[in-house]
Symmetry: C2
Subunit: 362 residues, 2 copies
């Protein structure tokens, strides 16, 4: 198993030289320079990550990690806690939103149990069991998890990524790699609460500016949620520059796992499409462990959760889609993957001014 | 050939009853209500348009219409006028941005010459020649076209739509229809100028608040472009409530043609994805002829051209994508078609709370 430190050490800056070459390539295509906006940026970023123009995006993998949260007992969610496990069954039988959208963009979904409260009863090969615990503890009262568990959750994410990355038989003949582009998403009743706490702890923004309605709580419950988070931050005093400390005090197992996926992806030169609010909290953890990871991230969409913008700004990321999504699971990431693919195709399939015999700008 | 009046008469309001049923269907799916935001809206709109849940989006057709503009001689564009014809050749040989993105979403591109300045030399079946003239006149000096030509351009758009709509052999066996969803796009050097003039004439907004840099003119050229449009509006005094008057005085043949496509699509209960700035000016013309057309429109993306927002607001439309696109051709429409498809799949493929055994909100 690759250790967290090893993985972090393997993360390099993007290849600026290749990105400049990509820019030149884009500028000779039959369109006004820059007129395909963010699609061109994506093509450049992917070239910088992969260090080649021959970019394959055949193996699209969405990691949807599930876990439960002790904080749910504070009544911070509109849904009962058993929904986490129920939704995992839904994921593995293909009926959830992420399954539909992953099929739409021809991605596969890797579902993992990082810490669901109950023992899941299934023999499906579509579920990876990597339990760090049976749900976190209620961080209104005590730390969500131990430091060791925080590290184990990140390591589990790395392990799951590596299993898929080196999976044979999935990719084209001659190709060794099983992941060309990754996406991250999650399921965990109450998990906008740890995500908000992580966001406030790391960015330093006020809890009330970060915290939203999650799956749809009312005004009273929202006030309560804010108070719970404020108190927890006062109680635990997480160190904003120690991501493991933040994760252990107010985080979640699936959040740690997704941070691990990001670290592993960056170390393997694989771009990662980050879904919404909770996935972006995981991205913050990865970013604090190694800021270079942000170069590998693509923010999928602007979540309805208001703190999302604050986290994205902290990492200097700009979301691609603005579709009022607030489901999670990786649904926005799936849609955004198709845009990344579009950007790469633009760079590689469009005619140049010269080839098409089109006059350039006067 | 269907006459414009006939087509307009055939346009009906969406089926509100079916839309309510779609909303109920969406609310029983395994997700917090409304959490898939705009994807859910799209599913509802499509159900209202098609009056069935059995929505097929197999035949995706993008209409990319080209034409030249007399106003180009005022130096309002960064590119020389011959680029219009050159780009038509690029479209039919498959090397332009729209070709790449249409392939990406599995749409076909129907290219038509509504008024390119030169006689296009090609025997390609991929180009429809429906010339209304060899470019419009310079509307800084005289009307862009006659009223008759304005009507003919709209009629040509209707005709092109109908040819594709009834095309046999393209669709699945037993299906009569050749278009399940339409998109509109355009090519015409200098055509942000007529589009800006139409927008100002119809919405009443100030020319300087509407007019942008098109393919990339500098500050001086932008000032000049604004002055040209202001003077033209004073000269011609187009009647904002008479779309044919506006189109003939400051419009373009491809813009009239695309307005015709929208009218025809709405009359046939086919949704139309409207690309960027110029396509939205065409949508304004269609909207003024029959406001019900807006119910069939889907705004693809928010253009970099600043007047775009003003036009969308006038028709109460909200763009789906915000990718800093400013190419036209239907490129944004192609990308948005994939989102429409995603919305329909969500409605029809996701499991319900009951089927999946998932507990609903407390």
């Amino acid at each position: 198993m690759r250790k967290i430190k090893e993985v972090i050490k393997a993360i390099e800056d993007l290849d600026r030289g290749m990105m400049e070459k990509a820019q030149k390539k884009l500028d000779f295509l039959t369109k006004p320079q820059g007129s395909l906006g963010r699609l061109e940026e994506l093509a450049k970023q992917l070239t910088g990550i992969k260090r080649t123009f021959d970019i394959k995006l055949k193996n699209k993998v969405i990691f949807t990690f599930a876990s439960d949260h002790g904080i749910a007992e504070e009544g911070v969610s509109a849904f009962p806690q058993e929904v986490t496990a129920q939704m995992v069954y839904n994921f593995i039988s293909g009926g959830a939103g992420i399954n539909v959208l992953a099929r739409h963009v021809k991605a596969r979904v890797v579902v993992a149990d990082l810490g669901v409260k109950e023992t899941l009863k299934t023999e499906s090969k579509n579920l990876k069991i990597k339990k760090i615990g049976f749900g976190t503890k209620n961080f209104a009262k005590t730390k969500a998890m131990t430091k060791k568990q925080a590290q184990l959750s990140i390591a589990a994410g790395i392990e799951i990524f590596e299993e898929e990355f080196s999976a044979k038989g999935r990719s084209a003949p001659g190709e060794e790699k099983g992941i060309d582009i990754a996406g991250i998403g999650e399921m965990g009743i109450a998990n906008t609460t740890p995500a908000s706490a992580i966001a406030a702890a790391i960015t330093g923004a006020k809890v009330r500016d970060i915290t939203g309605r999650g799956t749809g709580i009312n005004d009273k419950a929202l006030k309560h949620k804010i108070k719970i988070i404020e108190k927890a931050l006062l109680l635990h005093k997480p160190d904003k520059d120690d991501a493991i400390d933040v994760l252990s005090k107010v985080g979640g197992f699936e959040i740690g796992g997704l941070a691990g996926v990001i670290l592993a992806a960056a170390s393997r030169k694989v771009p990662v499409v980050v879904d919404g609010f909770i996935s972006t909290a995981a991205a913050l953890i990865a970013y604090k462990l190694e800021p270079k990871t942000a170069q590998y991230m693509i923010s999928a969409h602007s979540s309805v959760e208001k703190g999302h913008k604050i986290m994205l700004k902290y990492m200097n990321l700009r979301p691609l889609l603005n579709l009022d999504l607030r489901l999670g699971e990786g649904t926005g990431a799936a849609l955004a993957m198709s845009l990344v693919e579009a950007g790469v195709k633009i760079m590689n399939e469009m005619a140049t001014f010269e080839n098409a015999g089109v006059s350039n700008k006067e």
